[in-house]
Amino acid sequence: MQVLEFEKPVAEMEAKIEELRHLSDDGQVNIVDEVARLQTKVEKQLRGIYGRLTPAQKVQVARHPDRPHCLDYVGAMVTDFTSLAGDRAFAEDQAMIGGLGRIAGQACVVIGQERGHDTESRVRHNFGMAKPEGYRKAQRLMHLAEHFKLPIVTFVDTAGAFPGVEAEARGQAEAIARSIEVCLSVEVPLITVVIGEGGSGGAIAIAAGDYVMMMEHSIYSVISPEGCASILWRSRDQAGEAAAALRLTAQDLLQLGVIDQIIPEPLGGAHRQPQAVYDAVSKAIAHEMGVLMSLDGKVLLERRHAKFLAMGQKGLS
């Protein structure tokens, strides 16, 4: 597991525990107490660190390479998952995962960005940065969901839409705009979970839904702290300050009325106990699907529109 800078004291102690366990395997005597003592200490320290993560640290946790990604969630909590490919116009985009499946027994359409977990898969998934074909695939699947009256669940985890010449040539802006418009047009429930990084337009393209949840240590922002710092501070070194100024943590967004719920993560982040995370997320989605499925499609749409129309209105004097 990759160790973040601020987790180093914890990692050292965990290494010591591991060493002791190794010794005990060799049949040496009573180290049980010592292990227990160290483990309590580790927990205490983790609680201390994770209880007061700075926004800049949250950014690191949200992007932690060992953090569960879209396909991890899908593999763990979506049964009968049947991957569907392509935008029917240009290509298949593996940065945007999509398919049919069941969550807690309820059939649904699942869409989300996948970043990959090693060099090969990161390249295949283009580091989770979708191109226009990815957003058009998302639109197609949302229409499919509406046609068969299935709820839509989206997992957001992207640094942003892919910024490249080809993406521009094929209309990246139009693809994102239409994708948002489709989110705001389908008369079936749309539930979003921001699992890692919600990067700007590339994120909102599949997140303009009825109910938006964020993992405790995920982030969601109009611009990356690095990008913001390089524009407003003229140096990427100020990314920490930008992270704080942007108010991009799950806790900030709940306070600003932009999201509906925060899903707590296990001590030390989702990557330390992923199974507990899948269970919690599955439960939260299942509950919300139940609530939203009971509403008429038109009512759903009205509520969705009212919610987004009100965003930021409090900020006006």
């Binding site: 802006a173 705009a177 948002i180 969601y220 129309l309 900020g315 006006l316």
Partner: protein, 335 residues
Amino acid sequence: MPPPPTLCAEHLLFVNPNLSILPMNWLTNFVRPKIRALVSAQKEIPDNLWEKCPGCNAMLFKRELEEQFNVCRHCGAHLRLPPAKRLEMLFDDGAYDLIALPKATHDPLKFRDQKRYSERLKEAQSKTGQNDAIMVAEGLMGGKAVIIAAFNFAFMGGSMGIAVGEGLVIAAQRAVAARAPLIVIPASGGARMQEGILSLMQMPRSIIAAKSVKDAGLPYIVVFTDPTTGGVTASFAMTGDIHIAEKNAQIGFAGARVIESTIRETLPPGFQRSEYLLDHGMVDIVVTRHELRETLIRILGLLTGKAPANKNKSAAASLAGPFPHGARTLPLRRK
């Protein structure tokens, strides 16, 4: 301040195509004193009387430039146009009513970089005389009521925050209430990052606004002007019934510098310009600025099935003669 009485000097000076290769201090040391001598009443020629054309580098006399709605008379380059001039150009007789927008003094995040956002806002307000980067107006075009929302790039890069989102919502509501078409004219660098996630949320918000106009069966037309990028392009701007672009406007999602620096791709010639978007199927029509009003009136007439509108009397129609360059409808391209 009053314009100099008889200033024809710029005509003499700027027909010379070699001027652009002369060093800048030649202008300061030779041309300006000469003009000063010509305009004896004026002690000093303030710099803001002149603007350098980004297309041909000619120094343009601002008053004349404004009369041409900021189109260079030498090379046809379209310079940015403040929204008030834009509205004057588009509405019949240049007459329109502004629709009041809520005052946007708020700073939801108390954002501060090297400077407070609240200070940046105040500066932009005093510089432009506007509350925020959007102006919404209603009036007649070709005798028919329309609502126009126009961005001001001079106001923090025309960036879209809560107040701009609010402007678009109000423009859409007004259009639906008046059963009038909505024309939106962005000129924007994208979302206003100083409003954080709330600026990102203006993307769905503005799309809902535009959608309400379309759902009411009313035309929703977007006129892309230089520049239209980022979260503005990727939201309401790209969901129009008809997309018109002013010639040579920069239109795109990612900034050219971002593409060059992060992906290390070289940009093809004309990349992210109006004509490039036309070639790639993202806009319907590319027009010159002086063709814009006429094009809008024609399209609205066709979409709403009305009889041809009378289309004289605009300020734009009185533009002196054809433009020397670039004043042509872009022909259909064959490849």
